[in-house]
Every structure is written in C-alpha cells, then in structure tokens.
Symmetry: C2
Subunit: 418 residues, 2 copies
C-alpha cells in the first residue's frame, strides 16, 4: 500500500495516529512497518492487535509499569485492540533447575488469583472492552518435542548469546541453563500464535520483542510484528529503574497518602518525564507545563502536587485525591504533625536504667521491621523524636509518655509506656 | 558392595569379565563404576543393559562400525543384554532448518526399511536373542514442552559449547542452531528412559555418552551409566577414520572379492589393530600372531590373507571365503589377469583421428563414474592398459580391439570397438 492510495482524510488520520503512537517511545523497530500497519488499519477499518506480556508472578502494578499501559490505552483510544498475555505456562514451569528465586513455580490457583488481581488493577488504566486476556499455556502447553525442536531451529546460539544478560553471564562464566533460551522463544511464539501486529515493552525487552518479529518471519507470516520500546522510568531515587525490589516505587494500590507523599519525593528533574509517560495529559498541556516551568511562571512544587493528585485521582478517585492533598498540606507543608497520631505502647521491661537504643525503639514500636532497616533510616536522617532528628545509630533514648516518634515523612506514633 | 563380600569364584568371574570388557577400549569413564556394575551383575545374576545408538539414516555397516559391535557381542557372550536404539525420532525430524545434508528427514517407511536392514546385517555379529531393538520416538515423541524444558534445564550452555564441533563452529562464527543442543540431550535421555548401565561408542561420541551419565544423575538415578569409548578404526588409507563418505571403507555387505581385496590393501602397520578390534580372535591367539610377526616367523601377507578370509567368512560364510581367497591368488598374487574379463563396447565415433583421452575412455567404459574420479585414479597410478601404467591425465590413447583396460586391482574390461 502506498501513501498516494490514501484519501486526504485517511492520510490525516494516519498522521494523527502515528503522532500519538510515537509520543514518548524510546524506539520503534522498524518504523516504516509501523506506518504501513497503521495505514492498513485506517484503510481497512480492521484494528491492530497490540500485545503486552504480563509476568504471572507479580501482579502488583506500580507507576513504572504504567508507562507501557498508558501507551496501550492510547492504542485503544485510537480504536485498536489489546492482547494481554498472562504467562501462565512459564509461571507454572517455574525454573526447572530450582535455582532462580524470580522463577518460582506457581500453582493453578496462584495464576488464577494473580490474573484476577491484574484485571482489577488494569481496569483503572485500560478499556477492558477492547482488551483480551490470553493464557499462553493454551498454545505452549500443546507443543510436543518435535514442535519445540522446530521452534529452536529458528535461531542460533550466537544470536541468543547476544542478549545482554546472557552475554554478561557467559563472559563471567556464570551458568546459563539451556532452557533459559526458551523464555524469549516462548514470548516470541506467543506473537506467532496470536498474529500480533505490535508488541510493547520496556527498552530492556528489546531482545525478546524482536525475537517475536524474527519468529513470525520464520513461521512465514507475511510481515513481522513491530516492536515499540518504551523508556524505563527511574524510581523515587531518580537513578535506578523503578522496581519493587529496589523499593523506589509508587504502587497504584498503595494508600492514597503514600502515593501522594511518594510522588512529592521524586526529583524535580524527572517530573516532566513522569507527566509524559504516566499520565493522560495532552501534548498541548504538557508543552504549556514545560514552558511554565522553564519560565518560572509555574512552581515545581505546585506541578508536582498536581502530578501527585492526578495519580491518586486515577487510582483511587477524585475524593481520595482531594483528601490526600489536604493531608499532605497539613502534615508536611505546614510542617505540623498530623492531627491524629496513633498511640503505641512500649513495654518498660525493654528499658535498661530507663534507656533503650534508638534501633531497638524503632523496632519495638513496629516503625521498622528489622534492625537493619532501623539502622538505615537513622543513618539517612529520617528519624525524629519530638521533631528532633536522631542521627547516631548508637544513640540511647530515655522514652517518656507522649513522645512523638517519627520515621520519614509519613510514619508517626505517640509513645505510651506500659 | 565391596570386593571382600564376593566369593573367590565371583571374584574370578568379575576379573574375567573386566579383562574382556576392557580389551581394546580407548577409555572407560568412570572405570571404578564399571567394576561395581560387573560385581553387582555377577552377584545378583541380573545382566547389565548395554546400549548402542544407531543412526537411522545409514544402515550400511562397515568394518569400522564393527569395532563397537564386536564389543557388544563380547558383552552378550558374558551374559549381558544389548539395547539397540534406532534413533527414529531424530530421523523423522531431520534438520528443522533444512540446512544440513546429514540430517535429511526420513519417512516412517525409510525408518522401517533401515531398521530391517540393520537387523539383517547385525545378525552376522550379534546374538539377536540377547538384543532388544528400541525406537526412541516411543519416549521422545511423548515429551511435551514442559518436559523438554525440564530436560534442557539439566545442562548449561557453556557445557554444550564444550563439545568439540560446537566449540569449533562457535569460535569460527559458524551458526549453531539452538535445536542442535538437543541431539546430545536426546541421546542422553534415551539412557534415562531405558535405565542403561553401560553405553558404547567411538571416541568421537565421548561428549554425547557422558551426557547420558549426567542426565541419569540429574533425573536422580542412583548411579549413572558407564561410558565405554572404543577407538576409531582408520580406513584403507591408514590415516583417516573409516567412513563411507571418505570411500576408505570395507562394507560388510560388499562382494566377497571386494572385501578380500580391500582388506589386502590395508597398511601392514594397522593389521593387528584390525585383528584386535574387529575379529573374534582370542587374546592368546592375538599374542601369538603379534609375536610371530615381530619375529618374522609369520609373513605379513599371510596374516593379512587370514584377516581378509575371516572377514569374508564372518559376513558371507566359509565357502565364499575360500572362493575369494582363490580369486585373489589367481588375479593378484600370480599377477595374472583374471580368467574371464568382460567385453565392453567403445563407440568409434568417440574417437578423434583414432584417438581418445584416457579420462574420456575410462568414463565411456563405465570404469569411472565421472571425469573427476577418472582423473584421480590416473593421478594415483591406478590405471593400466595392457598392464602398462598410464599416469599422465592428458594422455591420448589409440584404442584397439582386445585391449585390457584396468583401474585399480579389481576392475577390468576387454575393449571392443563398435
């Protein structure tokens, strides 16, 4: 299909769609194929099939995940259809060597429960009427040994060892088990099976998504899928990729005060990136915001409050957003302590000559789960008693009834000796 | 089980068996495990399961193959049982990339026919009453994707790339397709499935056979199989491994005169190796022969005649052996031309001014299949006309009725112009 065959209206529609699709994307491979696919969809009226694979073991969605989810939503708003793959086949296998902690074997019930959680969480971002959920065991579970060999025959060992993590581990003499080669092959085969037009993922998924394109070609589909890689979002620390294990994330199911407070803690420099990739702000509004910040007519704190509020609004509704904002203003902006502080008992038999170490105190009050965590928060200057910072990890405290013990910006207790 | 637990008789029997089993073997891994297995068999009376994998695509057995087959026969004579695996699963898959000539896809009928040919040929060496044929599709064909992943999870990519041919190809940037890793895994899984005690193969099979031992361990069998590697037999050229593709072989189904003649052409230095590895000559007789040759009381030619005769006798019977010997003596030892030489017509219109090139002549008379072959045999000095060597490849010949054209020691025609 050539550009000239399209009517003016169709051409405009294709350009409108491409503009939205490309917004924020880190890489599109191959870009020309994307244009072809959108042209066909516009002319034929047949929606594109846009795929995202979901990890069946971790259905706890955070703002980092929403980068691709928002892009999917944009596709839906353009009239296209979303294929969400629950990787239950992979999940049910786990790691056959039993050595990997990230590949725990999931039961049928785990998978079902996780899928349910996904649906509940995703309904806040996606249009579920244009979303189909698939379990990849439906096709992968049916493959027999000869099918698997055929699949494995489509790629070379050298190509596999080009994948970043494999390359590093191979060079460092760390074991790569042969079955690990099949994770990208399975992901790619999902695209073969579902005749996917476009697959989305983070830039760390580039290898796996391009494998889908390769395999579709090898299984003689006319045109392979287009890979759209979205940027990885830095977490609260502003440096590393947002992830649960790094504890630098904002979970969409977290308490609205936490979502709000955490959002307020992201570095100013990342704010526009968060806006662009994880909100539904229009291109024009985003340009205005950018300009306002540059010219100083918008204060970064106000912009960040708006971002925080919009997250709470998206994931807990407008009322919760108003309340979280109020809470934040009261507690932090006015530098006052929150109106209602929970009272917490401290057993006096923990005291030695009326004293207790700060570490022990934090753990005893359940403000921290472990000595290690307590030590880190003291070292980071996050601990205050009666608004007085306690920064020495060996500090001894003489606790009194009514003392306010505080960790970070959002955890408080009022102490009562018992 | 310890050595001391055996009776004197049992100890003697174990030693007798080990002596026979080890004879001629290039390597046994691990040797101590072999002793344990034989001890158990002797004490329990339960025969060992000794496995050999057969290539389903090439059922044309030559003397090189008989090295492992004779060892299997020795096991049978010691009371053990032989598992012959027809690799029909591998054969039916062929090479999924379609790039390998050696992995042609075989039909069900091909596999059946080849298996039949194996049976016919093997009956000349093995005791079929102690031999069980297996088709490995019986278990490999039943594996599903998750079983395959479990299998692949037992080994690392690095271990695979240690296999000689993989290492070389990887280093040379030649493609290795991922499915190729499964050939050793399948061979190993055969041993898991059949609970093999001992697997035999040539030294070039070391990697694959040890894979069986690894996999049995990984599938939690108490003790892995023992690998017995037999030496590779050099072919007629005395240098390269005997193989069909190098045309340096003696096929057991060849004409008895060819078997006899080819055997007479092996280098004297290899004769004892052939005797040891491919005949049933006893250890004592072999020692006598070795001594006789060293002391000059036995002429090498006589020893080789005996070897040639024993091959013909094994594979075509005693009468054929006598006749082949007589033929050889008449034709070659007496340096006479054979009594009956076939007459072959040569069309005069191939002549230019009464002449024809030697290459063209050999091809026209069907003495050689191609110009290339004809050229090589002239270069090697194998071509004679009327007992006169023709060594120049550009030689022009003036053929006459009744000329005797000879290639090598066994091909003759009497020429007739037509």
């Amino acid at each position: 299909m050539t550009w000239q065959q399209l009517t003016d209206e169709q051409q405009q529609e294709v350009q409108r769609q491409l503009h939205i699709i490309k917004r924020g994307a880190a890489d599109i491979v191959p870009e020309e194929a994307l244009k072809q696919k959108v042209m066909k969809a516009v002319v034929s009226g047949i929606p594109l099939k846009v795929k995202l694979g979901l990890d069946p073991s971790a259905p706890d969605i955070h703002i980092g995940h929403t980068v691709v989810l928002q892009k999917l939503r944009q596709f839906q708003d353009l009239g296209h259809e979303v294929q969400l793959i629950i990787g239950d086949f992979t999940g049910r296998i786990g790691d056959p060597t039993g050595k990997s902690e990230t590949r725990k074997q999931l039961s049928e019930e785990d998978v079902q429960r996780n899928a349910q959680t996904y649906q509940t969480q995703l309904t806040k971002i996606l249009d579920l009427s244009k979303t189909t959920f698939y379990y990849n065991s439906a096709w992968l579970g049916e493959l027999k040994f000869d099918d698997v060999l055929k699949l494995a025959g489509k790629v070379t060992v050298a190509r596999m060892l080009e994948r970043d993590d494999f390359a590093k581990r191979y060079a460092a003499n760390q074991p790569i088990h042969v079955h690990e080669f099949f994770y990208p092959l399975m992901q790619g085969y999902d695209s073969v099976s579902l005749e996917t037009d476009i697959e989305l993922g983070g830039t760390d998924q580039t290898f796996n998504i391009l494998m889908g394109r390769t395999l579709q070609g090898a299984y003689e589909m006319k045109e392979g899928q287009v890979a759209i890689m979205m940027p990885l979002l830095e977490g609260l620390d502003g440096v590393q990729k947002m992830s649960k294990s790094l504890r630098n994330y904002i979970g969409i199911d977290e308490h609205s005060n936490d979502i709000f407070g955490k959002t307020m803690s992201i570095p100013d420099t990342l704010m526009l990136k968060y806006y662009e990739l994880t909100t539904t702000l229009s291109h024009t509004d985003l340009q205005e915001l950018r300009q306002g910040l540059e010219e100083g007519t918008i204060h970064p704190r106000d912009a960040k409050m708006k971002l925080a509020k919009s997250y709470v609004s998206m994931y807990h509704g407008a009322q919760a957003a108003d309340e979280a904002e109020q809470h934040f203003i009261t507690v932090f902006q006015k530098k006052a302590l929150p109106g209602e502080i929970e009272e917490q008992l401290l057993r006096v038999n923990l005291l030695e000559e009326g004293q207790i170490s700060i570490i022990q105190l934090l753990v005893a009050l359940d403000l921290q789960a472990s000595n290690g965590e307590a030590r880190r928060s003291v070292e980071q200057g996050a601990v205050k008693i009666n608004e007085q910072k306690i920064a020495a990890i060996h500090a001894k405290i003489t606790p009194m009834d009514g003392d306010i013990v505080q960790v970070g910006k959002r955890k408080f207790v009022r102490l009562k000796l018992s």
